[in-house]
C-alpha cells in the first residue's frame, strides 16, 4: 500500500477493496458497503495493524465497523 494513503480512511478502504476512492461512500460501514465482507474485514484489521505497528487490542478491533472509526484509529498515527 502506498504510504500517501496510509492516513486517510477512504483512501485506505479504496486500497483494501481495490476500487477508485470515489467508489467509497461517505457512510461506508460493514452494514452498508457491499464489498465489506468477512474476508475484507480481516484485510482491514490486518492492514490497520501494519499501519499502527502493533496488534489492535480487542476493544479497538471491535470498533472497526465504519469509515469514522477507521479514521479515528488512523488519526492516532498522524
Amino acid at each position: 500500500m502506498s504510504s500517501v494513503n496510509n492516513y486517510d480512511a477512504k483512501a485506505f478502504l479504496a486500497d483494501i477493496f481495490e476500487v477508485p476512492i470515489d467508489n467509497i461512500p461517505e457512510d461506508a460501514s460493514l452494514d452498508t458497503y457491499d464489498r465489506w465482507d468477512s474476508l475484507g474485514h480481516m484485510r482491514i484489521i490486518l492492514h490497520l495493524e501494519e499501519i499502527v505497528g502493533s496488534t489492535l487490542n480487542t476493544e479497538d478491533m471491535l470498533n472497526i465497523i465504519d469509515l469514522t472509526n477507521i479514521q479515528k484509529l488512523l488519526n492516532t498515527r498522524k
Binding site: L30, D31, D37, S38, L39, G40, H41, M42, I45, L46, T58, E59, M61, L62, I65
Partner: protein, 176 residues
C-alpha cells in the same frame, strides 16, 4: 430434523456423516486455531462420539449442506429449556465457502427456528478475538457484545481474548 435456507440445508448429523472430509477440517490449522478443539487428536471415532453426544432434543449438531448435497460445515446448538437460553456455534470447514456469508444465512435461520419454534428467549455465542471473520459476522448480524474474557485462550503461544455475544428474541424480531 432439517432446516432449509435459500442456498443451504441444515440437517442433524448422524455417524455416517463422520467422513475423512470432516476430519480434514478439524485437522486443518487454518480452521482449528480458532476452535476449542484438539485438531491433531481427532479421528473418525472422536467425530462419531461428538455427533452421538447430541440428543436432538436440547442438543443439536447440524451439518450445513449445499443444494448439491455437499457438506461444508456445521452448527452446534445447545438449549437450556429452564432458562430458555441457547448457545450456538459454527464451523465452515470447506474453505471455498469462506467469505460467502454462509453463517449469516444459516445462523439467521437457526435463530428463526429457536425463537419461533423452540421457545428460546436468548442465544449466546462467542469467538476468539483473532477470528476476525466471525466477529464481522456477529457485528453484521447485530449481536450485542456481552463481554470480553481476557487472555482466555493460548494460540500460537500467545494469550488471546474470547469475545462473548448475545441476541435476545426481542432484538432479533426488531431487526428481522
Amino acid at each position: 430434523m432439517q432446516i432449509k435456507t435459500d442456498n443451504y440445508t441444515l440437517r442433524t448429523l448422524t455417524i455416517e456423516d463422520a467422513t475423512e472430509c470432516y476430519l480434514s477440517w478439524l485437522k486443518d490449522k487454518d480452521i482449528n486455531r480458532t476452535l476449542d478443539v484438539d485438531g491433531q487428536g481427532q479421528t473418525l471415532d472422536t467425530i462419531r462420539q461428538y455427533i452421538c453426544k447430541h440428543d436432538n432434543k436440547t442438543s443439536f449438531l447440524f451439518g450445513i449442506f449445499t443444494k448439491d448435497g455437499d457438506h461444508i460445515g456445521t452448527h452446534s446448538f445447545n438449549f437450556d429449556p429452564k432458562n430458555k437460553l441457547a448457545t450456538v456455534g459454527v464451523m465452515i470447514g470447506d474453505k471455498s465457502y469462506w467469505g460467502k456469508a454462509v453463517p449469516l444465512e444459516t445462523r439467521a435461520r437457526i435463530m428463526d427456528w429457536a425463537f419461533d419454534d423452540l421457545g428460546c428467549n436468548k442465544i449466546e455465542a462467542g469467538c476468539y478475538s483473532i477470528n476476525m471473520p466471525a466477529i464481522y459476522n456477529f457485528k453484521r448480524q447485530h449481536w450485542g457484545m456481552e463481554g470480553i474474557l481476557r487472555q482466555n485462550r493460548v494460540v500460537d503461544k500467545e494469550f488471546i481474548d474470547v469475545v462473548l455475544f448475545g441476541m435476545t428474541k426481542k432484538e432479533w424480531y426488531e431487526q428481522r
